[in-house]
Protein backbone atom coordinates (compact mmCIF):
# COMPACT_ATOMS: atom_id res chain seq x y z
CA UNK A 1 0.00 0.00 0.00
CA UNK A 2 1.36 3.40 -1.01
CA UNK A 3 1.17 6.70 0.81
CA UNK A 4 -1.71 8.99 1.63
CA UNK A 5 -3.54 11.06 -0.92
CA UNK A 6 -2.99 14.80 -0.92
CA UNK A 7 -5.76 16.63 0.91
CA UNK A 8 -8.67 17.64 -1.26
CA UNK A 9 -8.74 21.44 -1.71
CA UNK A 10 -12.37 22.05 -0.84
CA UNK A 11 -12.10 25.74 -1.76
CA UNK A 12 -11.30 24.71 -5.33
CA UNK A 13 -14.36 22.49 -5.66
CA UNK A 14 -17.87 23.93 -5.55
CA UNK A 15 -19.23 24.26 -2.00
CA UNK A 16 -22.29 22.21 -1.09
CA UNK A 17 -24.57 25.20 -0.69
CA UNK A 18 -24.86 27.30 -3.86
CA UNK A 19 -28.22 29.14 -3.70
CA UNK A 20 -28.25 30.15 -7.37
CA UNK A 21 -28.39 26.41 -8.13
CA UNK A 22 -31.60 25.99 -6.19
CA UNK A 23 -31.64 22.22 -5.76
CA UNK A 24 -28.48 22.48 -3.66
CA UNK A 25 -30.29 24.44 -0.95
CA UNK A 26 -32.03 21.42 0.62
CA UNK A 27 -29.35 18.90 -0.31
CA UNK A 28 -26.27 20.54 1.19
CA UNK A 29 -25.17 19.45 4.68
CA UNK A 30 -25.16 22.31 7.19
CA UNK A 31 -22.48 20.77 9.39
CA UNK A 32 -18.81 20.89 8.48
CA UNK A 33 -17.35 17.75 6.94
CA UNK A 34 -15.38 15.71 9.45
CA UNK A 35 -11.75 15.47 8.42
CA UNK A 36 -9.85 12.27 9.06
CA UNK A 37 -6.67 10.69 7.91
CA UNK A 38 -7.05 7.92 5.38
CA UNK A 39 -7.13 4.25 6.19
CA UNK A 40 -6.96 1.24 3.92
CA UNK A 41 -10.58 1.64 2.82
CA UNK A 42 -9.95 5.11 1.44
CA UNK A 43 -6.58 4.20 -0.08
CA UNK A 44 -7.93 1.22 -2.02
CA UNK A 45 -10.65 0.95 -4.60
CA UNK A 46 -12.33 -1.35 -7.07
CA UNK A 47 -10.38 -2.56 -10.12
CA UNK A 48 -12.29 -2.94 -13.37
CA UNK A 49 -11.00 -5.25 -16.07
CA UNK A 50 -11.25 -5.21 -19.85
CA UNK A 51 -13.55 -8.21 -19.58
CA UNK A 52 -16.46 -5.99 -18.62
CA UNK A 53 -15.93 -3.49 -21.43
CA UNK A 54 -17.43 -4.00 -24.89
CA UNK A 55 -15.31 -2.75 -27.82
CA UNK A 56 -18.12 -0.35 -28.79
CA UNK A 57 -18.56 1.04 -25.29
CA UNK A 58 -16.43 4.12 -26.08
CA UNK A 59 -18.14 4.80 -29.42
CA UNK A 60 -21.38 6.63 -28.69
CA UNK A 61 -21.92 7.29 -32.40
CA UNK A 62 -22.39 3.55 -32.96
CA UNK A 63 -23.08 1.91 -29.61
CA UNK A 64 -26.84 2.24 -29.57
CA UNK A 65 -26.56 -0.62 -32.04
CA UNK A 66 -29.22 0.36 -34.54
CA UNK A 67 -26.85 0.04 -37.49
CA UNK A 68 -27.05 3.77 -38.24
CA UNK A 69 -24.87 6.54 -36.79
CA UNK A 70 -26.06 9.08 -34.24
CA UNK A 71 -27.12 12.49 -35.56
CA UNK A 72 -25.00 15.54 -34.82
CA UNK A 73 -21.54 17.01 -34.90
CA UNK A 74 -19.10 14.09 -34.82
CA UNK A 75 -16.23 14.51 -32.35
CA UNK A 76 -13.36 12.66 -30.76
CA UNK A 77 -13.12 13.42 -27.04
CA UNK A 78 -9.70 12.45 -25.75
CA UNK A 79 -7.09 13.25 -23.15
CA UNK A 80 -4.96 11.94 -20.34
CA UNK A 81 -5.64 11.08 -16.75
CA UNK A 82 -2.94 12.38 -14.42
CA UNK A 83 -2.70 12.85 -10.68
CA UNK A 84 -1.76 16.10 -8.97
CA UNK A 85 1.88 14.98 -8.97
CA UNK A 86 1.79 14.64 -12.76
CA UNK A 87 1.81 10.84 -12.79
CA UNK A 88 -0.40 9.07 -15.35
CA UNK A 89 -3.32 7.08 -13.94
CA UNK A 90 -3.52 3.88 -16.00
CA UNK A 91 -6.31 1.30 -16.36
CA UNK A 92 -8.97 3.34 -14.60
CA UNK A 93 -12.65 3.22 -15.48
CA UNK A 94 -14.11 6.35 -17.11
CA UNK A 95 -17.85 6.57 -17.74
CA UNK A 96 -19.65 9.32 -19.66
CA UNK A 97 -23.25 10.24 -20.36
CA UNK A 98 -24.80 13.07 -22.29
CA UNK A 99 -27.79 14.57 -24.09
CA UNK A 100 -28.15 14.10 -27.84
CA UNK A 101 -27.43 16.81 -30.41
CA UNK A 102 -30.84 18.37 -29.72
CA UNK A 103 -30.27 18.56 -25.96
CA UNK A 104 -32.52 15.63 -25.02
CA UNK A 105 -31.48 12.80 -22.70
CA UNK A 106 -32.57 9.22 -23.23
CA UNK A 107 -33.86 8.90 -19.67
CA UNK A 108 -37.32 8.03 -18.39
CA UNK A 109 -37.38 11.26 -16.37
CA UNK A 110 -36.43 13.70 -19.17
CA UNK A 111 -39.48 15.43 -20.67
CA UNK A 112 -37.80 18.17 -22.74
CA UNK A 113 -39.71 18.76 -26.00
CA UNK A 114 -36.64 18.21 -28.22
CA UNK A 115 -36.69 14.84 -30.01
CA UNK A 116 -34.87 11.67 -29.11
CA UNK A 117 -32.38 10.43 -31.69
CA UNK A 118 -33.30 6.81 -32.52
CA UNK A 119 -29.60 6.06 -33.05
CA UNK A 120 -28.22 7.57 -29.87
CA UNK A 121 -28.19 6.24 -26.31
CA UNK A 122 -25.76 8.67 -24.70
CA UNK A 123 -23.87 6.18 -22.52
CA UNK A 124 -20.18 5.28 -22.84
CA UNK A 125 -17.28 3.88 -20.87
CA UNK A 126 -13.64 3.01 -21.31
CA UNK A 127 -10.45 2.25 -19.42
CA UNK A 128 -7.45 4.56 -19.58
CA UNK A 129 -4.44 2.88 -21.20
CA UNK A 130 -1.02 2.22 -19.65
CA UNK A 131 -0.05 5.91 -20.12
CA UNK A 132 -3.36 7.21 -18.77
CA UNK A 133 -4.80 8.09 -22.20
CA UNK A 134 -8.46 7.66 -23.06
CA UNK A 135 -10.78 8.49 -25.92
CA UNK A 136 -14.44 8.44 -26.91
CA UNK A 137 -16.17 8.95 -30.24
CA UNK A 138 -19.42 10.82 -29.80
CA UNK A 139 -21.51 13.72 -31.02
CA UNK A 140 -21.46 17.18 -29.48
CA UNK A 141 -24.44 17.45 -27.13
CA UNK A 142 -26.92 20.30 -27.44
CA UNK A 143 -27.74 22.84 -24.71
CA UNK A 144 -31.10 22.48 -22.99
CA UNK A 145 -33.38 24.45 -20.67
CA UNK A 146 -34.14 23.61 -17.04
CA UNK A 147 -36.28 25.36 -14.49
CA UNK A 148 -34.03 26.77 -11.75
CA UNK A 149 -34.48 30.57 -12.19
CA UNK A 150 -37.32 30.33 -14.69
CA UNK A 151 -35.72 28.88 -17.79
CA UNK A 152 -31.98 28.66 -17.31
CA UNK A 153 -29.95 26.97 -20.02
CA UNK A 154 -27.29 24.40 -19.42
CA UNK A 155 -24.12 24.93 -21.41
CA UNK A 156 -23.52 21.94 -23.69
CA UNK A 157 -21.77 19.31 -21.57
CA UNK A 158 -20.77 15.71 -21.19
CA UNK A 159 -20.90 14.14 -17.72
CA UNK A 160 -17.79 12.21 -16.69
CA UNK A 161 -17.29 9.74 -13.85
CA UNK A 162 -13.86 8.40 -12.95
CA UNK A 163 -12.53 6.07 -10.25
CA UNK A 164 -8.75 6.42 -10.09
CA UNK A 165 -6.88 3.84 -8.06
CA UNK A 166 -8.63 4.46 -4.75
CA UNK A 167 -11.97 5.56 -3.34
CA UNK A 168 -10.27 8.79 -2.19
CA UNK A 169 -9.84 9.77 -5.86
CA UNK A 170 -13.45 9.15 -6.90
CA UNK A 171 -14.79 12.04 -8.94
CA UNK A 172 -17.80 12.98 -11.06
CA UNK A 173 -17.74 16.16 -13.10
CA UNK A 174 -18.88 17.74 -16.38
CA UNK A 175 -16.98 18.66 -19.54
CA UNK A 176 -17.81 21.88 -21.41
CA UNK A 177 -16.72 23.02 -24.87
CA UNK A 178 -14.41 25.86 -25.74
CA UNK A 179 -16.22 28.90 -27.11
CA UNK A 180 -19.69 28.14 -25.75
CA UNK A 181 -21.23 31.47 -24.62
CA UNK A 182 -23.60 29.60 -22.26
CA UNK A 183 -20.69 28.55 -20.02
CA UNK A 184 -20.52 32.00 -18.44
CA UNK A 185 -24.29 32.00 -17.82
CA UNK A 186 -24.70 28.47 -16.43
CA UNK A 187 -25.65 28.36 -12.72
CA UNK A 188 -24.12 24.90 -12.36
CA UNK A 189 -20.79 25.94 -13.90
CA UNK A 190 -20.89 28.97 -11.60
CA UNK A 191 -21.11 26.85 -8.46
CA UNK A 192 -17.31 26.71 -8.88
CA UNK A 193 -15.84 29.79 -7.25
CA UNK A 194 -12.51 30.03 -9.08
CA UNK A 195 -12.34 30.91 -12.78
CA UNK A 196 -9.15 28.84 -13.14
CA UNK A 197 -11.02 25.79 -11.86
CA UNK A 198 -13.81 26.37 -14.38
CA UNK A 199 -11.19 26.57 -17.14
CA UNK A 200 -10.10 23.04 -16.22
CA UNK A 201 -13.57 21.80 -17.23
CA UNK A 202 -13.47 23.27 -20.74
CA UNK A 203 -12.40 20.88 -23.48
CA UNK A 204 -10.19 22.52 -26.12
CA UNK A 205 -10.68 22.23 -29.84
CA UNK A 206 -7.84 20.00 -31.06
CA UNK A 207 -7.31 20.36 -34.80
CA UNK A 208 -4.26 18.07 -34.63
CA UNK A 209 -6.51 15.11 -33.84
CA UNK A 210 -9.22 16.16 -36.31
CA UNK A 211 -9.96 13.39 -38.86
CA UNK A 212 -10.33 14.90 -42.36
CA UNK A 213 -13.84 14.67 -43.82
CA UNK A 214 -14.98 12.78 -40.73
CA UNK A 215 -14.92 14.56 -37.34
CA UNK A 216 -13.48 17.27 -35.11
CA UNK A 217 -11.61 16.59 -31.88
CA UNK A 218 -11.65 18.03 -28.37
CA UNK A 219 -8.98 17.49 -25.75
CA UNK A 220 -9.84 17.10 -22.08
CA UNK A 221 -7.24 16.15 -19.48
CA UNK A 222 -8.33 14.91 -16.08
CA UNK A 223 -6.41 15.44 -12.83
CA UNK A 224 -7.09 13.25 -9.80
CA UNK A 225 -5.80 13.64 -6.25
CA UNK A 226 -2.09 13.02 -5.96
CA UNK A 227 -0.46 10.44 -3.74
CA UNK A 228 2.41 11.11 -1.41
CA UNK A 229 5.53 9.00 -1.38
CA UNK A 230 6.04 6.90 1.71
CA UNK A 231 9.40 8.15 3.01
CA UNK A 232 9.63 7.55 6.72
CA UNK A 233 5.88 7.15 6.95
CA UNK A 234 4.70 6.59 10.49
CA UNK A 235 3.33 3.17 11.21
CA UNK A 236 0.75 2.45 8.53
CA UNK A 237 -1.80 -0.27 8.06
CA UNK A 238 -1.00 -3.08 10.42
CA UNK A 239 2.72 -2.25 10.51
Amino acid sequence: MSGDFIRRDRAWHPPGLTPNYKTSVLRAPRRALLSFEQSIGEKSGPAFGHGAIDPLDNDLIANFNTGAPALGERILLHGRVLDECGRPVPHTLIEIWQANAAGRYRHVNDGYLAPLDPNFGGCGRTLSDAEGRYHFLTIKPGPYPWRNNGSDWRAAHIHLSIFGEAFAQRLITQIYFEGDPLIALCPIVNTIPDKRAIDMLIARLDMGEMAPFDRLAYRFDIVLRGRRATYFENRTEGA
Binding site: R8, W12, H13, P14, P15, T18, Y21, T23, S24, L26, R27, A28, P29, R31, L33, L34, F36, E37, Q38, S39, I40, G41, E42, S44, G45, P46, A47, L82, D83, C85, G86, W97, A99, Y105, R106, H107, V108, N109, D110, G122, C123, R125, S161, F167, R170, L171, I172, T173, Q174, T191, I192, A197, M200, R225, G226, N234, R235, E237, G238, A239
Partner: protein, 197 residues
Amino acid sequence: MPVDYLKETPSQTAGPYVHIGTLPAAAGLPLRTQENLHVLAQGAAAGERIRLEGVIHDGAGAPVKDAMLEIWQADASGRYNAPGFSGWGRTAADFKTGEWFFETVKPGPTPWRDGRLQAPHVSLLIFARGINIHLHTRAYFSDETAANEADPVLRAIEQRNRVPTLIAQRSTRGGQTVYRFDVWLQHDERETVFFDM
Protein backbone atom coordinates in the same frame (compact mmCIF):
# COMPACT_ATOMS: atom_id res chain seq x y z
CA MET B 1 7.71 29.77 -3.80
CA PRO B 2 6.19 26.48 -2.68
CA VAL B 3 6.44 23.52 -5.04
CA ASP B 4 3.75 23.53 -7.72
CA TYR B 5 1.33 20.66 -8.09
CA LEU B 6 -1.39 20.19 -10.65
CA LYS B 7 -4.84 21.08 -9.35
CA GLU B 8 -7.51 18.42 -9.09
CA THR B 9 -10.26 18.56 -11.72
CA PRO B 10 -13.17 20.24 -9.93
CA SER B 11 -16.37 18.34 -9.23
CA GLN B 12 -19.77 19.06 -10.73
CA THR B 13 -23.12 17.59 -9.77
CA ALA B 14 -23.93 14.17 -11.23
CA GLY B 15 -27.32 15.62 -12.17
CA PRO B 16 -30.72 13.94 -12.54
CA TYR B 17 -29.66 11.74 -15.46
CA VAL B 18 -26.66 10.12 -13.77
CA HIS B 19 -28.26 6.72 -14.39
CA ILE B 20 -27.66 6.89 -18.15
CA GLY B 21 -23.93 6.55 -17.68
CA THR B 22 -23.78 4.54 -14.48
CA LEU B 23 -26.90 2.35 -14.40
CA PRO B 24 -28.27 2.59 -17.96
CA ALA B 25 -31.00 0.02 -17.44
CA ALA B 26 -32.44 2.16 -14.63
CA ALA B 27 -32.58 5.12 -17.04
CA GLY B 28 -34.62 2.97 -19.42
CA LEU B 29 -31.86 2.11 -21.88
CA PRO B 30 -31.75 -1.42 -23.32
CA LEU B 31 -28.13 -1.72 -22.15
CA ARG B 32 -26.43 -3.89 -19.51
CA THR B 33 -29.80 -5.13 -18.37
CA GLN B 34 -28.19 -8.14 -16.68
CA GLU B 35 -25.92 -6.06 -14.49
CA ASN B 36 -26.75 -6.27 -10.79
CA LEU B 37 -24.21 -3.94 -9.29
CA HIS B 38 -26.21 -3.72 -6.05
CA VAL B 39 -25.57 -7.43 -5.41
CA LEU B 40 -22.08 -7.94 -3.96
CA ALA B 41 -22.73 -11.26 -2.26
CA GLN B 42 -22.28 -13.61 -5.21
CA GLY B 43 -21.43 -17.29 -5.39
CA ALA B 44 -19.29 -18.58 -2.58
CA ALA B 45 -18.37 -15.27 -0.94
CA ALA B 46 -17.82 -16.04 2.74
CA GLY B 47 -19.60 -14.23 5.54
CA GLU B 48 -23.02 -13.30 6.79
CA ARG B 49 -25.38 -12.26 3.98
CA ILE B 50 -26.98 -8.92 4.75
CA ARG B 51 -29.25 -6.36 3.12
CA LEU B 52 -28.12 -2.76 3.64
CA GLU B 53 -30.97 -0.38 2.88
CA GLY B 54 -32.28 3.10 3.48
CA VAL B 55 -33.65 6.35 2.18
CA ILE B 56 -31.81 9.63 1.73
CA HIS B 57 -33.77 12.60 3.07
CA ASP B 58 -33.32 16.20 2.03
CA GLY B 59 -33.51 19.20 4.35
CA ALA B 60 -37.32 19.28 4.08
CA GLY B 61 -37.54 15.60 5.04
CA ALA B 62 -38.47 14.51 1.52
CA PRO B 63 -36.90 11.39 0.02
CA VAL B 64 -34.17 11.96 -2.57
CA LYS B 65 -35.43 9.89 -5.51
CA ASP B 66 -32.73 10.55 -8.08
CA ALA B 67 -29.58 9.66 -6.13
CA MET B 68 -26.91 7.19 -7.21
CA LEU B 69 -25.06 5.43 -4.40
CA GLU B 70 -21.82 3.49 -4.31
CA ILE B 71 -20.36 1.37 -1.55
CA TRP B 72 -16.85 0.07 -0.92
CA GLN B 73 -16.11 -2.45 1.77
CA ALA B 74 -13.84 -5.22 3.01
CA ASP B 75 -14.84 -8.87 2.84
CA ALA B 76 -15.89 -10.87 5.89
CA SER B 77 -12.23 -11.27 6.87
CA GLY B 78 -11.50 -7.56 6.67
CA ARG B 79 -9.65 -7.69 3.33
CA TYR B 80 -10.18 -5.20 0.49
CA ASN B 81 -9.90 -6.42 -3.13
CA ALA B 82 -9.97 -10.00 -1.88
CA PRO B 83 -10.39 -12.74 -4.49
CA GLY B 84 -14.03 -13.75 -4.95
CA PHE B 85 -15.49 -10.58 -3.46
CA SER B 86 -15.24 -7.27 -5.28
CA GLY B 87 -16.35 -5.13 -2.34
CA TRP B 88 -17.79 -2.47 -4.64
CA GLY B 89 -21.44 -1.86 -5.38
CA ARG B 90 -23.65 0.71 -7.03
CA THR B 91 -27.38 1.32 -7.00
CA ALA B 92 -30.04 3.95 -7.65
CA ALA B 93 -32.64 5.27 -5.26
CA ASP B 94 -36.10 4.17 -6.38
CA PHE B 95 -37.64 6.85 -8.61
CA LYS B 96 -40.97 6.65 -6.73
CA THR B 97 -39.96 6.08 -3.10
CA GLY B 98 -36.26 6.92 -2.75
CA GLU B 99 -35.59 3.49 -1.20
CA TRP B 100 -32.23 1.88 -2.04
CA PHE B 101 -30.56 -1.35 -1.00
CA PHE B 102 -27.51 -3.54 -1.44
CA GLU B 103 -27.22 -7.31 -1.00
CA THR B 104 -23.79 -7.89 0.47
CA VAL B 105 -21.86 -9.61 3.23
CA LYS B 106 -21.08 -8.09 6.57
CA PRO B 107 -17.47 -6.92 6.45
CA GLY B 108 -14.88 -7.80 9.05
CA PRO B 109 -12.85 -5.31 11.07
CA THR B 110 -10.08 -3.52 9.18
CA PRO B 111 -6.82 -1.99 10.35
CA TRP B 112 -6.48 1.68 11.25
CA ARG B 113 -3.24 3.53 10.57
CA ASP B 114 -1.61 2.61 13.86
CA GLY B 115 -2.57 -1.05 13.83
CA ARG B 116 -5.66 -0.65 15.99
CA LEU B 117 -8.81 -2.10 14.46
CA GLN B 118 -11.64 -0.18 12.89
CA ALA B 119 -15.10 -1.54 13.57
CA PRO B 120 -16.75 -3.25 10.60
CA HIS B 121 -18.17 -0.63 8.27
CA VAL B 122 -19.20 0.06 4.70
CA SER B 123 -18.08 3.29 3.00
CA LEU B 124 -20.89 5.00 1.13
CA LEU B 125 -20.74 7.71 -1.52
CA ILE B 126 -23.83 9.71 -2.54
CA PHE B 127 -24.16 11.41 -5.94
CA ALA B 128 -27.25 13.36 -6.98
CA ARG B 129 -28.71 16.42 -8.58
CA GLY B 130 -28.13 19.34 -6.21
CA ILE B 131 -25.05 17.71 -4.68
CA ASN B 132 -22.10 19.61 -6.11
CA ILE B 133 -19.46 17.22 -4.83
CA HIS B 134 -20.28 13.69 -3.73
CA LEU B 135 -20.90 13.04 -0.05
CA HIS B 136 -18.90 10.38 1.78
CA THR B 137 -20.19 8.62 4.86
CA ARG B 138 -19.83 5.24 6.61
CA ALA B 139 -22.39 2.70 7.76
CA TYR B 140 -21.38 0.89 10.96
CA PHE B 141 -23.43 -1.96 12.49
CA SER B 142 -25.70 -1.75 15.53
CA ASP B 143 -24.72 -5.19 16.85
CA GLU B 144 -21.02 -4.26 17.05
CA THR B 145 -21.29 -2.18 20.21
CA ALA B 146 -17.84 -2.94 21.62
CA ALA B 147 -16.06 -2.55 18.28
CA ASN B 148 -17.92 0.69 17.58
CA GLU B 149 -16.89 2.09 20.96
CA ALA B 150 -13.25 1.38 20.13
CA ASP B 151 -13.40 2.59 16.55
CA PRO B 152 -10.86 5.39 15.97
CA VAL B 153 -13.13 7.32 13.59
CA LEU B 154 -16.30 7.09 15.69
CA ARG B 155 -14.31 7.94 18.82
CA ALA B 156 -13.03 11.14 17.25
CA ILE B 157 -16.50 12.58 16.67
CA GLU B 158 -16.70 15.39 19.18
CA GLN B 159 -20.49 15.72 19.22
CA ARG B 160 -21.38 12.31 20.65
CA ASN B 161 -25.05 12.74 19.74
CA ARG B 162 -24.02 12.57 16.07
CA VAL B 163 -22.47 9.10 16.31
CA PRO B 164 -25.82 7.26 15.93
CA THR B 165 -26.21 8.81 12.46
CA LEU B 166 -23.50 6.38 11.33
CA ILE B 167 -24.98 3.22 12.87
CA ALA B 168 -27.10 0.98 10.64
CA GLN B 169 -29.86 -0.71 12.68
CA ARG B 170 -30.09 -4.49 12.53
CA SER B 171 -33.35 -6.38 12.19
CA THR B 172 -34.62 -9.60 10.64
CA ARG B 173 -37.21 -9.61 7.88
CA GLY B 174 -38.43 -12.80 6.24
CA GLY B 175 -35.39 -14.68 7.51
CA GLN B 176 -32.98 -12.10 6.09
CA THR B 177 -30.68 -9.86 8.10
CA VAL B 178 -31.44 -6.23 7.29
CA TYR B 179 -29.47 -3.17 8.31
CA ARG B 180 -31.37 0.09 7.97
CA PHE B 181 -29.25 3.17 7.20
CA ASP B 182 -31.31 6.29 6.60
CA VAL B 183 -29.35 9.35 5.57
CA TRP B 184 -30.28 12.93 6.43
CA LEU B 185 -28.49 15.40 4.19
CA GLN B 186 -29.54 18.36 6.32
CA HIS B 187 -31.19 18.27 9.74
CA ASP B 188 -30.94 20.08 13.07
CA GLU B 189 -30.42 16.91 15.13
CA ARG B 190 -30.17 13.97 12.77
CA GLU B 191 -27.88 15.25 10.01
CA THR B 192 -25.63 12.39 8.93
CA VAL B 193 -21.91 12.79 9.54
CA PHE B 194 -20.07 13.23 6.23
CA PHE B 195 -16.32 12.89 5.88
CA ASP B 196 -13.44 14.56 4.15
CA MET B 197 -10.81 11.83 3.98
